[in-house]
Amino acid sequence: MAEPALSIRGLTKQYGNGFQALKGIDLDVQQGDFFALLGPNGAGKSTTLGVVCSLVQKSQGKVSIFGIDIDKDFAKAKYQLGVVPQEFNFNQFEKVHDIVLAQAGYYGMTRREAIPRAKQLLTDLGLWDKRDGSARMLSGGMKRRLMIARALMHRPKLLILDEPTAGVDIELRRSMWEYMRRINRDEGTTIILTTHYLEEAESLCRNIAIINHGEIVRNTSVRELLTELSRETFLLDLAAPVSDAPVIDGFDIQRVEASQLSLVVHRGQRLNDVFDALTDQGLQVVSMRNHANRLEEMFVSMVDGSQNKIDQPSDNKQEARV
């Protein structure tokens, strides 16, 4: 079997102030995978990825990238690695073209190799016509795409994306998803993603690890995880307002607004039964949607109540933030 793209064993990190950010993490990400690392704020996601890309010094443990131990040959391991951080980390006063060419140079790529590569990536990511402009003039979404182009210059086999679509509008987010799917599918690039958008993880990723309080609490496939989902909450929009929530045996139904109900469906229950009962009571359902992303429901059940700071944009319940 091929070496994992990323293998972490017993990784711990204690900061100078005594805070134990990682408490012995074990994690494998297989080659070609599209992997999500999820967790609440402060759970240890960015610390874990920081150790992998050398921005954070580990306290203990072993990290290998495609079988290369970072303690033995970090430089060789870094060639396999591309990093797109959460915060903008380029010189805002430099030109877009200069930023990507400099990054290629840091990996030892000559300008003869780097210039066509930069043209290809900047074109693919819709930045070619901005190449001679200063990076500070780019919009937020363009800056994120610039960081993706920069990370891909040296053709890494493992791409780490730390919240790549944070603050990006929906249309652009979906085009970035498509681009990430393409490099994962067509070029075989292994992708590790952290995100607050659980819809993003469910849509893109095949495997998932959930980290909380510096420990991996779950590491499985997205499909497997969703089969374990024991309940789902739906919002039902009614054709006419109701004064009270209807009562249906075995189902938990609440009135949210005059014309909207919330419905909790447990595993084994059938939606048809609900619709039949509502029809019998003279209620017509005109539309239905998940109250929250399915993965989010699963996530909420896994992490401690105190840590479940679910920050949901009021206009789009699907985009629950963890």
């Binding site: 010094q57 980390n89 010189n91 400099a102 140079g105 030892g108």
Partner: protein, 257 residues
């Protein structure tokens, strides 16, 4: 990284540094030229003509080497201090840290960038001085050697300052309160032979005195201190500070959590 990749990485970083200070030339190259022209006019021409000779040379000829060296020192130091701290502040230092570039290449890249500015400004100031005096160079190789070593030394100093700095104020403390006084008291404007014995002894503790004097020796052929000893001391300082900077970089001082 193999040797050719390492060279590409180093050249990339040096070129980036040179682009940075040439892009903002009104802040980096123009001010020292104007300031030094003022020194030449006021101290060299107007006041210098009343001072008479210094160590057997006109006052203008005496101060030119010191003023060139002063420009090289301050510009080498401040270039690396501000550029590296700016990289820390904007987090663009992470571009280098995630790459396979060895730490010594990162350090050398910034040092060479600082030297490019320091020596570039030194050349500009030298050209400006030609409007006021006719320069003669008694020992050209020694002159070049000492100015290059001095520029390297203060570039490393600027790097260490930037590593330790937590805010922009921290990179102006050393130039303002240490470098400038030491430079002014380092024999730029006077010969230490004019000082009482006690103050001559105190002056000998000032490292900048040695650099200014060796540089002046290169131009004029006179020095207050032994040239060989001074060169050895500068070289020693470079090696020690390079090692200190490299160790700090390896430990991630100020840049890794």
């Amino acid at each position: 990284m193999n040797a050719s990749q390492t060279l590409v990485a180093l050249w990339t970083l040096v070129l980036k540094e040179i682009k940075r200070f040439t892009r903002i030339w009104p802040q980096t190259l123009l001010p020292p030229s104007i300031t030094m022209a003022m020194y030449f006019i006021i101290f060299g021409n107007l006041i210098g003509s009343r001072i008479g000779s210094m160590d057997g040379f006109t006052y203008m000829d005496f101060i030119v080497p010191g003023l060139i060296m002063m420009s090289v020192i301050t510009n080498s130091y401040s270039n690396v201090a501000s550029s590296f701290f700016s990289n820390k502040f904007q987090r663009s230092i992470e571009e280098m840290m995630v790459s396979p570039m060895p730490n010594w290449v990162i350090l050398a890249g910034f040092i060479l960038g600082g030297m490019a500015r320091g020596l570039g400004v030194g050349l500009i100031v030298t050209l400006v001085s030609l409007f006021f005096t006719r320069l003669t160079v008694e020992h050209p190789l020694l002159t070049v050697l000492v100015v290059v070593l001095t520029s390297a030394l203060f570039s490393i100093g600027g790097f260490i300052n930037a590593l330790l700095a937590n805010k922009f104020d921290d990179i102006s403390i050393v130039p303002t309160f240490i470098l400038t006084p030491l430079t002014y008291l380092g024999g730029v404007f006077y010969s230490i032979s004019m000082l009482p014995d006690v103050w001559q002894g105190v002056s000998m503790l000032n490292p900048i005195l040695y650099m200014v004097n060796v540089f002046r020796y290169g131009f004029l052929g006179v020095s207050d201190i032994p040239v060989g000893w001074a060169l050895t001391a500068v070289l020693g300082f470079i090696l020690v500070l390079f090692w200190v900077a490299l160790s700090m970089l390896a430990r991630g001082k100020g840049i890794r959590s």
